[in-house]
Subunit: 139 residues, 2 copies
DNA sequence: CATAAAAAGCAACAATGTTGCAAAATAGAT
DNA sequence: ATCTATTTTGCAACATTGTTGCTTTTTATG
């Protein structure tokens, strides 16, 4: 685990710092996606709010994590499993939000479908967010 | 126009008030979707922030408008064109966010595709958000 | 016009996000 | 191991966004 964390940071030429390590660890050990708030709560040690924002921004830019749009004013973040890189994300999977446990999951195996847009629109990227009840909550 | 507004409010058994009328008017006369902030800015008369929040909530509940998820912490709202009703929205169209003009559009004719989820997930509803450059900005 | 019910406004507050700058930590070279 | 340039953090101050309870105003209706 500590290995993985170091690797990810080195691979992206980011210096190893306590907050980056901790936040990465949270992502690695967490099933679902995390919001900024989740991270502030889950990180036992208290990092400054600003540090968390900046870390999330850096990670997103580097292609370590990606954002997931929501309708509740709380963007979620999740690890990129494909090999996304500086500036270019290319995970094209569907996300799932559980209405019961409120968790957000990456459905890594469900690829986003092709969508045919009307003439004149230049498409760069599609997000699909499914809502319902997750596996855990349903049984 | 004033006609339409009155109709919509009456049809949903909402009383006619200045803020509701103004906000509806904004939606009717605007091409794209509006965020809470857009509304505060565009409404010439100043309505209390709280009133705007409550109005948007009421409209959403009644099925007059629907929300559009985003990754920028600013949910957008747009008129429901299908006949959504109290509690149940059923517009299933794709949304488009222009990276240039930042506007969000309902692509009313582009229906959300069916998505096959892994075993165990109960699906209730799918959101598709496409990003790119809109017609206006592209020409 | 009177009245009950609904909505708006206000105040106070909580949560979220941003910026500039000084202090601390890190990486890399001696 | 120590020094040093560079990067990152924490802090302070602030801006924006969202929420709640309560009072006043407005609306619908007889
Ligand atoms: Mn994902
Ligand atoms: Mn729409
Ligand atoms: Zn769940
Ligand atoms: Zn545009």
């Amino acid at each position: 685990m500590k290995e993985d964390i170091t690797n990810i940071l080195k691979r992206n030429s980011l210096s190893l710092t306590a907050s980056r390590e901790k936040i990465l660890q949270l992502f690695l050990s967490n099933d679902g996606a995390l919001s900024h708030g989740d991270i502030e709560k889950k990180a036992g040690e208290r990092f400054d709010r600003v540090t968390v924002y900046r870390t999330l921004q850096t990670f997103t830019e580097k292609g370590i994590i990606h954002t997931i749009p929501t309708a509740d004013n709380a963007v979620r973040y999740a690890l990129c499993k494909d090999n996304c890189s500086e500036g270019h994300h290319h995970d094209h999977h569907v996300h799932f939000i559980c209405q019961q446990c409120k968790q957000t999951f990456c459905l890594d195996d469900v690829v986003t479908p092709d969508i045919k847009l009307p003439r004149g629109y230049a498409l760069s990227h599609i997000e699909v967010v499914a809502e319902g009840v997750c596996r855990q909550c349903k049984r």
